[in-house]
């Protein structure tokens, strides 16, 4: 599933989540909506309904369907990847619209064709409300600290802490070392080149354990300038993908690589086989 269309804003940020700011009445009378602001088809539908003060229990399905389709039509131009969920909803809307046109038999007490959709919309709206309550609860909780929370002194070296792994485990792992496993990526053998992907992996590894890492620390093991250049390029690439942000307080001071929205990024990368993590 595509994560790129989810807005950066938090669910509790009503304005951001509903995309209200970006909706304007277009010249053709349709609502112009910035699809990237929506977390999915329900979010978009809910926006259309709330934006126009429509009674959610009596949705004018034909109008809403037209508006939804008009908005969804714009997806294809720039992002086919995440269109599936929206197209599913479009199909559902068209189906409901068709059912609404059929004569209904009062005596059989058939359910309103819109009922399931209404339930989903209300439920989704509630989930958003709960999300914002969770944010508030989280913020309140974060104001309390347990004993010993702050590390005022640098921790001892990792090597000072005992390790549990046994030689038997090493041997077992060794038994699994197998040169004949298929490689799904081309490999350079001591060409001396430094690949951006390696440095991307290095940065990501470093950010697994902490929220930030100094640029210089990443370079420490190497003397060659090329490592600096390529690590910087890797940082820029990750920054472009919003996995990290780069921060430097003054010229020539330490460059910090700060962890960004990794979940978002991970979702975008989902499917790509990533380098194995470590302990």
């Amino acid at each position: 599933m595509n994560g790129s269309r989810e807005p950066v804003s938090r669910a509790g940020d009503r304005q951001g989540a509903s995309g209200l700011r970006d909706a304007r009445n277009g010249a053709n009378g349709f609502l112009l909506v910035d699809l990237d602001r929506f977390q999915g088809p329900l979010d978009l539908l809910l926006h259309l309904i709330r934006q126009q003060d429509i009674d959610i229990f009596d949705i004018p399905i034909a109008t809403i369907t037209d508006q939804f389709l008009a908005a969804v039509a714009r997806i294809e131009a720039h992002d086919l990847d995440g269109a599936g969920e929206f197209l599913d909803m479009a199909a559902t809307l068209i189906h409901i619209k068709a059912q609404m046109l059929l004569p209904r038999h009062q005596e059989e007490e058939e359910e309103d064709p819109r009922a399931e959709l209404v339930r989903r919309l209300l439920e989704y709206e509630q989930i958003r409300e709960i999300s914002s309550r969770l944010i508030r609860a989280e913020a309140e909780r974060a104001r309390r600290f347990p004993k010993g929370y702050f590390h005022f002194r640098p921790r001892g070296f990792v090597e000072d802490t005992p390790l549990e792994s046994t030689w038997q485990e090493v041997l077992e792992a060794a038994g699994g070392v197998d040169l004949n496993h298929p490689r799904n990526r081309p490999y350079r053998f001591s060409t001396g080149l430094v690949a951006v992907e390696e440095k991307v992996a290095l940065i990501l590894e470093a950010l697994e354990g902490s929220t930030r890492v100094e640029f210089s620390k990443l370079l420490a093991p190497w003397k060659e300038k090329v490592h600096g250049v390529v690590t910087f390029l890797a940082g820029l690439e990750l920054s472009r993908q919003r996995a990290v942000t780069l921060r430097q307080t003054r010229h020539f001071s330490e460059l910090w690589i700060m962890r960004g929205d990794m979940e978002e990024w991970a979702r975008m990368q989902a499917g790509d086989k990533e380098e194995e993590g470590e302990a």
Binding site: I56, E138, R141, R144
Partner: protein, 189 residues
Amino acid sequence: MNVSQIVEGVLFASDAPLKAEEIARADESLDEDLVEEAVRELRALYDESGRAFQLVELGEGYQILTRPELAPYLERFDTVPRLPRLSGPALETLAIIAYRQPIGRIEIEYIRGVGAAGVIRTLQDRGLVEVAGRSEGVGRPLLYRTTRRFLEHFGFASLEDLPRPDELPVLLRERGSLEEILGEGNGAP
């Protein structure tokens, strides 16, 4: 050492919430009731004597935490890197799991209208959500539930502490009956 001192010592030395039964393990003379009583005493004592910390009920147990009012002072020492905040999709998914647990991925995706596999994995990595078992349904899909850590992280003593359904619109109270919901809804607006 009296009961109150033992309980206080154990709570003080712990870096995570402890259940009464866990605290009681400190000594044969203790039981859950004695611990609960000591907890109440200590809580009152800390509050009355204006201590900088409080005895809080959290994550199905008890923990001593600083008062929220101290946050501005303590934040000046913020040397512990904090985890990045949860994204909107992650929070929504967490909310669904919290109220509907145990729940499978397909149901979550239906409620949110978008895929949830990546977000669920993130929540698992953060220790907020865990596998609760498998559904009896076709393919026996995995079911998820929230963890004790979820309660601790959001400051809830137990799942009962989640915002009550009656403070919320109708839907989460009932899993099923659409007719009822529509009935209530139609009557209301």
